[in-house]
Symmetry: C2
Subunit: 287 residues, 2 copies
DNA sequence: CGGAAGATTGATAACTCTCAAAAATAGTGG
DNA sequence: CCACTATTTTTGAGAGTTATCAATCTTCCG
């Protein structure tokens, strides 16, 4: 039972045009997601229902006051359709976003219309944490799937960081992990073959999704990332992504269809990729 | 054949065996480097002679007291020969290093004896700034050339950060730039051809060296990075690095010999690489 | 001078890209 | 609910880039 079901509009059974009325969507009483409706749950006890609280809380205990504040900040969620930009390169920004639902990515566009995806942002993640940034952003952030976000003014966030050391620590930790992931990606791109790269990405994505409770009972996860995005992530052509995926399917390591990924043999996939989840700093290891 | 033997002593024209008497070297009156002798310049007014002070100072004004403290911390430099490890993956550490001289790099070893270089550390840079790290390090740091470092206990650094907001800001800024460089490298590896990657790296290295005043009067910079290290940086084979370098020489964009790099045509090199120095957050642009 | 590390060369093979087109799937509007 | 269009996935063929292997040459340094 999931908040983010992975599909663009289809699974949510609502159309989500670029400029729909956001508040209506976010606050509507019959919001068609199957998950908890954040707008109606305000109890502190319900901490794990809030992706931001859940995520920060995994880095260490948060004070009750801190949890309250975080809850308060994430009340007014706004829907965002796939393709919607959250931040644009070269612009300046006065706020950060918390992703509540869906998948977003950092990316840069290059001459020739190429795109390089620099990282994935999952529910509960803060972006762009480089709020400290004085200059213009050096990359864009956009939604890869439909989802929902909350904006937080930079000033407000800075207050929060100053007032709650537990939050500050969690955010700092989160930034370190981001960096760790970047290094891992670097290594992937530089040293591994196309199929190894793809396997590694799938392993990482699986572990991250599992960590935030998006693993379904049947062992699958929502996976609304199309082959073009995979190509832009892994520095390979769409054609080659396609063929590599087919090879993985043929060797019965994964099933990927209808925007859901089912890893049939984690061990083999991880071995193939040389994947060691340590860099994600998550307690439990891949089985 | 192990891949990481590092450069032999050369720039410094001294032999630097693994376990030489460090203090003798660092404090010797006739230290054979061409640069300023940090050990004998203790005046606060002489701020730019201290690589750490110089580097942090470029991010914003440092209070006189902060400069004093930084100076004090960087008195006891220790020589480090090429190949010397500063931090080892999986170990825990209770200190950071400031590089005063030479070039160091972050790297990870992979199965099969391969090495991936994850970043370069130049004089004035702090490593590993991930001192906050609770867990073991996820990568190693080692000297690529002979040089000198100063160790700072983590506790001491934390005190400093707490006591001097100007230092804290500079260190945070520095961490952000690190991340920015990582993203740029990612993009390089994923999207550019071997020759573009190489050009891009040379541009970046040139700008960084210039920024810390290592540009010689003749327009060259010290470049003690061998082709094996370049290969491990750019994810290509040594053979291909060699051939690509030759092509660059043939097209009269660079002269690279005797461990010195002379870029003859910056504009063309930058254009070839798609290099835009903005991500380094340095005032002056490449000419 | 001798040994070792680094740079260079040649030949071959492997991997991945590009182009072009067809098939399948998802989303839209009647 | 169905037809229609756009997007995404899949397939085939050929070309290009880069890796690998093995040997030689060069430079450095004791």
């Amino acid at each position: 039972m999931l908040r983010y079901t992975g599909a663009s509009a289809c699974e949510l059974a609502v159309t989500a045009p670029e400029e729909m009325s956001l508040s209506a969507y976010a606050l509507g009483p019959d919001r068609p997601t199957s998950g908890p409706d954040f707008a109606t749950k305000r109890e502190v006890s319900d901490t794990m229902a809030n992706p931001l609280v859940a995520r920060l809380g995994r880095f260490g205990p948060l004070s009750a006051q801190a949890v309250l504040e975080l809850h308060h900040l994430t009340q007014k969620s706004q829907a965002r359709a796939a393709g919607h930009p959250l931040f644009l390169e070269d612009s300046r920004c006065d706020h950060v976003c918390v992703l509540l639902e869906g998948v977003a990515c950092r990316y840069r566009m290059l001459s020739g219309g190429r795109r390089q995806i620099l990282g994935y942002i999952l529910p509960g993640d803060l972006c762009d944490v480089e709020f400290v940034t004085v200059g213009p952003l050096d990359h864009s952030v956009g939604m890869l799937t439909d989802g929902a976000v909350v904006k937080i003014a930079s000033g407000k966030l800075l207050e929060l960081l100053a007032a709650f050391p537990c939050i500050r620590r969690a955010v700092e930790m989160s930034a370190l992990i981001d960096k760790s992931i970047l290094r891992q990606w670097l290594l992937n791109l530089a040293q591994r073959s196309a199929s190894e790269r793809l396997c590694h990405f799938l392993c990482e994505f699986l572990v991250r999704m599992e960590h935030i409770d998006y693993l379904n009972a049947d062992g699958s996860i929502p996976f609304a990332i199309n082959q073009m995005a995979l190509a832009d992530t892994l520095g390979m052509s769409v054609v080659h992504v396609n063929r590599t995926l087919q090879a993985l399917r043929a060797s019965e390591m994964i099933v990927l269809r209808k925007r859901h990924l089912h890893v049939l043999d984690r061990k083999r996939l991880a071995a193939m990729a040389g994947f060691d989840p340590g860099y994600l700093r998550i307690r439990e290891n891949i089985r």
